[in-house]
Structure formats: C-alpha cells, structure tokens
Symmetry: C2
C-alpha cells in the first residue's frame, strides 16, 4: 500500500504567515493616489479597510503571527492534506512525481476562507460590525459569508447579477451562512441606481459590484470593505498553504522542481508558491509557474503598468501586469480567473523573472480536468483545471527530455457547484478561444495617460 496523503497533526499547523515583502530582491512600485499621482498613505485607505489590515498590507516583517482565534477556525479544515497524484501519474506515464495541496476540503470548497477568516477576525478586533464585498461566481462571497458568521459580523455581498441568476448554488451557500446577498447593480447604492436608470436590465459586472461594495461602506464607521485577492495582506494570509506544504514535503524527503498554481488575482498561486519563491530568491534552482487562461492573459500578453484595480476607476493605481481596466474577458467558465490585472507582488516577481507565466485554453483545461476526475476521483474547479493542464504539459516535457521532475501544485478547490461548465465541455459546447491582439490593444487605451512605473 503506497502512501497517497501526507498529513500534518493540528499541533503542527504553522503559527505564522510568511511575508514575501521581506525578501523582495528589488523595490516594488508603490500604489499611487489617482488624483495626486503620489504614493497612497495608510490614511487614504482607512475609510475602506481597518487599520490593522492596512498595517499588514505595508509591513515588511518577514513573519506575521497568526492570531489564536484565526488558528481555531483554520482547524475546522486545516492543515489540509498534501496528496500524491499516483493515479494521474500512471495515466501520464512520465518521469514525474506530482503532489498537490487539497484546498477543496474547506467548508465552501476552496482556498478562499484562509483570508476570509483572517479578515473577519481583524475587522472584528478593530470594532467593525459589518463587511461588504463583491463576488463574481461566488467563491469569495461564500467564503466571506461563512467567516463573518463565525465572528459575529454582518456580511453584505454584491453579486454580479448574471451570476446571481445563473449560479444559484453559491448564492444559497451565502444565505445558509446568513449573509445578505444582493444582485448588482442594485438600488442600495448611488452607483447601482445610476446604472439601473440607464439600463434596467444590466447584467452587472465585477467592476460595478466592487464600486457598490465600496460605496456601501464609505462613511459608515462600523463597516468596512473586504477583498478576496490581489492585495498584499490577502496573499499573506494564503501563505499558510505553502508553509504547510513545505512541512509535508520535508516529512517525505521531497522538494519540488516546479511549483504551479492557477492565477486570476493571484492569491491561491501566491499562497502555495511564496514560501518556495523565498527559497528561489535565496538560490534554490526551481521553476515557479503562474497559470492563466488564454482568454484573460494578463501576465503573458499584458504590459507591466499602473492601472486601476477596478473598472470604475475608484481604487488606487497599482503597478501590475494588466490588460487595461476596460478589458472584458470572454465568458469562460473559470470566473475566478477573469480579472484584468494581477496582484502587484506576483506582477513584480514576473517582471523580475523569478516567476514565469503560461496560458492555457479552456479546452485544454477541461480535457486535463476530466482526466483528473477519472483517475484521482476529485472533480476540480474550472480554475484549478488550468493548473492541471500546466501539470500535464510539464509531465510531457519531462518525458520528452527523459528528466525526472517533482511537481507541486495547488488544487485550489472542487468543482461540485460548477458542474455546468463540465456539461458544456462534455457536450462539445466549449470552443477553442482566440483573443485578437487588437482587442487587447483597444482595452489598453484605458491606461493611456496614467503614470508609468
């Protein structure tokens, strides 16, 4: 009986998050105030985030203690198992050993609660009573709903209307956890009312939902906004994934040659990879690969530039790879990968050639995902299938080169409430996707005139 899972006991759970800002080889471009063009200070963010999280956003301390109250909630599903994908390896018949972190064991089924629980806790400690956020497909909204309930906070989720109507299951999760889930655009905000007046049947967008969620808290001293990816403190909270993986691999005397994860805003990828990126910065010879969809190829086809985090141009300017905040990705099913930008830290590391990026088509992703389900059993989230496609490619390369490789990737979540995407694939309704260069150039016009990094 060969070992499949490497477990950690609860007492072995990491007690600190890892902050990669402490190990950055070159300085990062600061976020800028869109009005003044000057670096934003903590005070600029105070109406939106609580000060304890703003401090985490900017600190360069290498290790941040995980509060006891957060650890207690983490234990409901953490440490997560590290798996060896032995059945998938057999299918690929390549000289690779494939390990993955199973983040699908959390209650909402993804990595998102790692930061949701932490953010709810810090807001609670800061005296906040209510959090507001936006959600597209609903992974983030459901995770924050659960986390808020655990710490006794109210939670309001502005969900892109078309998803609200087409993806009832995630909305129902939020309801079950007691959150207020509102289709966006809504009549709860000025921004929403304005859009509804212009176009009553607007399907909504992530950009609109972000604007509504921010407007919803600004001026309310007891409410704050919460974001599920992109920002430094969000990535920080996710590093527990990689820190656990390092302990688990050490137990079996392994170390990866390649570390992979799918990347939309960048949080699950960062969570697994940053502790390994640290080793790479300090001389370890490994590849670290961010995997994105060809329909939203931020890292592989966008420029490194200052851009807004949202479509409505309300956030500070972030230095990142971007397709322009006007970029509207095709409606592929991996909702979590449809973001025009990329986390500034991930972007910086790609620019410095410490991390590389690869893009995969949704057809390749689902092809890999169905093979995965039929060997490993677990049905992956559409986002996660992109990472699996990259694993397949890596295994094929190893086979061609006849060189052994140890691959580690983040199985960021299960796809049990995303099965309609599998239906589309299995019934031949998904098509290969080509994104014309002109379309990217058109969207990039939206960053004309913004400061340059």
């Amino acid at each position: 009986m060969e070992q499949v899972k490497v477990l950690l006991e609860e007492r072995e759970i990491p007690r600190q998050w890892y902050n990669i800002l402490a190990d950055m080889p070159t300085p990062m471009n600061p976020p800028l105030h869109p009005g003044t063009g000057q670096p934003v200070g903590p005070g600029d963010l105070a109406p939106i985030f609580p000060m304890n999280l703003i401090e985490q956003e900017v600190t360069t301390e290498r290790w941040i203690d995980i509060p006891e109250e957060v650890l207690e909630k983490y234990l409901l599903w953490r440490p997560t198992p590290l798996y060896r994908a032995r059945n998938f390896e057999k299918l690929l018949d390549a000289p690779v050993r494939i390990y993955y972190k199973n983040e699908g064991v959390s209650p909402p089924g993804s990595h998102k609660p790692n930061t949701a629980v932490a953010q709810a806790y810090y807001n609670k400690v800061f005296g906040i009573k209510r959090l507001s956020t936006e959600t597209g497909a609903g992974q983030w909204g459901s995770a924050l709903s659960m986390a808020c309930r655990m710490f006794g906070l109210e939670c309001r989720v502005f969900m892109v209307k078309v998803s609200y109507e087409q993806k009832p299951y995630r909305r129902l999760m939020m309801m079950t956890w007691g959150a207020d889930c509102i289709p966006s655009p809504s009549d709860r905000t000025e921004m929403g009312r304005k859009i509804l007046a212009e176009r009553p049947d607007s399907p909504g967008s992530l950009g609109i939902a972000i604007s509504e969620a921010i407007e919803d808290v600004v001026g309310d001293e007891t409410a704050r906004y919460s974001l599920g990816s992109v920002l430094n403190h969000v990535l920080l909270h996710q590093t527990i994934i990689g820190l656990e993986a390092q302990k688990q691999l050490e137990k079996i005397g392994e170390y990866p040659d390649v570390v992979m994860g799918c990347a939309g805003g960048g949080s699950n990828f960062s969570g697994l990879s940053f502790p390994f990126v640290r080793d790479k910065i300090h001389g370890k010879d490994i590849s670290v690969v961010a995997v994105e969809p060809t329909s939203c190829p931020t890292l592989t086809r966008g420029p490194f530039a200052y851009d807004f985090g949202d479509t409505a141009r309300t956030t500070p300017l972030l230095a990142m790879y971007t397709l322009g905040h006007d970029f509207v990705p095709a409606p592929i099913h991996a909702g979590g990968l449809r973001y025009h930008g990329m986390a500034p830290i991930v972007s910086h590391l790609v620019k410095e050639q410490i991390i590389e990026a690869r893009a995969f088509d949704q057809i390749e992703a689902f092809e890999a995902g169905v093979k995965w389900a039929r060997t490993e059993g677990f049905i992956s989230a559409p986002e996660t299938n992109h990472a699996i496609a990259a694993v397949v490619q890596e295994a094929e390369r190893a086979k061609e080169e006849g060189k052994e490789r140890v691959i580690l990737f983040n199985w960021s979540g299960h796809g049990l409430v995303d099965l309609s995407a599998y239906d589309a694939y299995l019934s031949g309704k998904l098509t290969q996707f080509e994104l014309p260069e002109e379309e990217i150039q058109r969207a990039l016009k939206s960053i004309d005139g913004l400061p340059k990094p």
Copy 2:
C-alpha cells in the same frame, strides 16, 4: 488551541471490515423466494450479483479482509477525520461532547463510495465488464460511477426521471466520471417501454428504476446489478467508518454514550454504529440510535414483516420494518431517506431492542442543519441534518438531566449540491409534515398475503 480533529495516518487504516452477523444474539429470518416462499440460495442471486459478493452477503465470518486494491482507492479520502464539534457544543451549551465522522471528504461528498469501490472491485475480479444500478437523488449513482471508472468497468445508472430533470448536478457528476446516466422510465428495457406506453410523461420512481436496472443485466453474463444500501454486504463495507472512529476515539481516551446516524436504507448508520453495537452486545452500556424522517417512519411506525425490497415485487422477500412496498413517501428533500423498508440487519437489531429509532420532521432537521452550518462551517446533506436534529435533542436531554454525555454521529455527507432544499427552508417553503395513520395502513395492504416472520 484545543484539538478539533483526530486523524489517522494511512498506515493506521483498518485492514478488515467487521461483519456483525458473527455477533448476532438471535438468528435472523432468511430472505425468501417470493414464488416458493423458501429461503433463497446463492444460486437464486447469481444472475444479479457476482458470486464473491453473494458469499459476503451470507458469510458469518467476523472479520473480512479488505483487498489491497480497495484500500488503495480508499486512501484517496480515507481515513476520514473524526471531528469534535466544539463550536456547535458552545451553541448548545449542554454537558455534552459531540464527535462526528466527516464522510463528506470523499470525491462525491458522501459515505457511498465506501461500498461502491468495494463492489466495483469484486465485480471486476469476477470478470464482470458492466454494472447497472438505479439512483434517486443521485448520491449512489455518482459514487458508483466514480468507482466503476477507477476499475475500468462500464457503468449504467437509471435515474428517476424527475430527479434527472430537477437535479442536474449529480447527473453531471456521473457524466464527468464517464457513466451512462439514463432517465427512468427509459426505452432501454421492457419494463420502461411498458410504462412509457401507458404514461409517456411518467416522472419515474425508485421502484421502476430498480426494475429497469435489474432487467438490464439479467441474461447478460458480463453485467451485474449493484445496490447502494440495505443488503448485508453493503453494510459490511461501510463498517470501515465505525472501525476508524473507534481507533480515533481511543487515541483521545473517549468512548461514546450515544451513537447516532440517519437511516434510509441503513448503510451509513450501520457503517458507523455496528462496531459499537458489537460492544453493546458484549455488555457495553450505550445507546445506538437510528434517525429517520417523520415522512418515512419505517422503524418507528412500520411493522416487522416480510416485504419486497422494491415496488415492482421483483426482489426476494426480506424480513424488515416496512411501510409496505406501495408506500410513496412525501417529496421531502432528503431523497436518501425515502425508502419504504430498512436493512434487514438494522431491522433485526431494532426488533431485539439493541438499537432504538427516533423520527424527526424536516423542519427540525433543517433548523438543526442551519445552526450547524453557522457554527461548524460545513453545510450538511439534508439526510445528515436529521442526525444533527437528534444530536440537538440528545444534548437538550443531557442538559435537563444534568448528566454528561459523549455523542458520536455520522456526518454522512455535505449538502453543496442539495442547496435548493436549504432555499426552500430559508424562504419558509418547507412545512411541518403529518403522516396520517390511514395512509400507512393503506400502503401496508401491499404486504397482505406475504409470509410472516
């Protein structure tokens, strides 16, 4: 940081299933051939089941070795964690310690693969190429689809048509695992064609689907039928749950006063409880409680009688608690609990007063389930919510009596693809259910004239 989960390493997984037939204090009534009224022999079952499983159905060996190939597949999600429900305990504020086995970590999200994997393996070894089965809500069909794929068997699932149409997610799971999922009644069988001729818009029933699945294999030497509950060998395979739980509780020096599980056909309940029932038979002072819905109160309101296992009167006669094979349960959302009978072993143990039974209304079940989701995080299957309602009642009793109790129950699966039931509850569409005695008496007419135990 208080311990939440008790884990077992893979090497600690039990290597044998426990067969309670070895410890039965009184002899059981044998299954009877409906034509002759005589006990059925192995030969009678040979067209339907492979001989190695028929042997397991009748053996009285206490310990049955789990084949290496089955253990290998089990390791994809087993041993499952034993949880202490600390947050739920705090909410209940009663002198209880509540432990639960989390069977929701399997790929389809329930306990069903414990037997699906074993059955697929034994059929494979026996030279069978294809399995056929029926499914209602789809828990069983999805588990068998995955298991068949793992052992290279074809899988055909007759799914009750109304569920096929209303519950697309489980059907899509089956498709993703490569099974052929057919709405029943279908034109693939004589039985199906006959029903469609009489009533083209028939919504189907579990009884019809069973008949179609059996007809589909009889006469095909390379095909066999597979059942997801009720039978002895199915219950046997599930005992890995309770055997793991015993090891886990021993690690922390605990032993339960009360062992609980929801019971439809009886397999998840049996799986957790039988190793503890063994201790009880040998003198341990504990309560073992099977929890059923008030809408299908087999154990609490049915007689102990010989009855058919299916509506179409094609199976052997089983001695069990039954509401009569004509009983049509109300469409409550816990599809897995809507069975007119109960596993013969469970029935026998209830008759001998070794196991007791309690019934809960769906409103109580969802009330408990929502409290659970809002404290423990995990959203339970509607079936599982019935067990949680029983845990709440037990905690309240302990509080009234001022007596400490250790409660162990089976968290048989998650409810992420059953969220429409939560929607119905949260929006006030579920109602308290009364089942008139006349309705039971009417259904029981269907067993008039059958042999008596």
